[in-house]
Amino acid sequence: DQQVKQNSPSLSVQEGRISILNCDYTNSMFDYFLWYKKYPAEGPTFLISISSIKDKNEDGRFTVFLNKSAKHLSLHIVPSQPGDSAVYFCAASEIRAGSYQLTFGKGTKLSVIP
């Protein structure tokens, strides 16, 4: 049973427009949420995170929104650039066995069209 779900396997956006990637979770014990970007043949790269006590975190072109009541978070990229084309993974963090452990979604492949 997937605790972190990314229901859109792919998304195409025109350069300059907004990209919105969505993520849903089921476990109310998650206390941090993270987004990672992954290029082919590379490991995931941390992008942005948000604590469960906040509802928004912004870093340059990237903003993450958290709706705890709906157990939903989203990543907004604006304006989108061709270099943003990658697979984006949503992840949620909780303490298990004495350490913070991440649970990942399956990823959304973003294609930004020039």
Partner: protein
């Protein structure tokens, strides 16, 4: 962020053989994690490796199949034993960064194909 390297970057192996993947970090870290990403799937945690103690395995993963070593604070190995085609995956090493579990950094991954 930590600089993490993995060896090999990729390999093609025969069924029934074993492969050991190495992970080197450029700084001392307490916790190291091993993940697997099967084709089209999410990253799944295999085990947590703490220096000086036995690795802790997630449900569905056992030490006989995925033995882990953690001899010091900058290095770990994961062995995939008695491989079958179902073990074909990307294997990723990861370390915890920042306070309160706010992020993990990942190595580049090892792409394993089992024939």
């Amino acid at each position: 962020s930590a600089v993490i390297s993995q060896k090999p970057s990729r390999d093609i192996c025969q069924r029934g053989t074993s492969l050991t993947i190495q992970c080197q970090v450029d700084s001392q870290v307490t916790m190291m994690f091993w993940y697997r990403q099967q084709p089209g799937q999410s990253l799944t945690l295999i085990a947590t490796a703490n220096q000086g103690s036995e690795a802790t395995y997630e449900s569905g993963f056992v030490i006989d199949k995925f033995p882990i070593s953690r001899p010091n604070l900058t290095f770990s190995t994961l062995t995939v034993s008695n491989m079958s085609p179902e073990d074909s995956s990307i294997y990723l090493c990861s370390v915890e960064q920042g306070a309160s579990g706010t992020r993990n950094d990942f190595g580049p991954g090892t792409r394993l194909t089992v024939l």
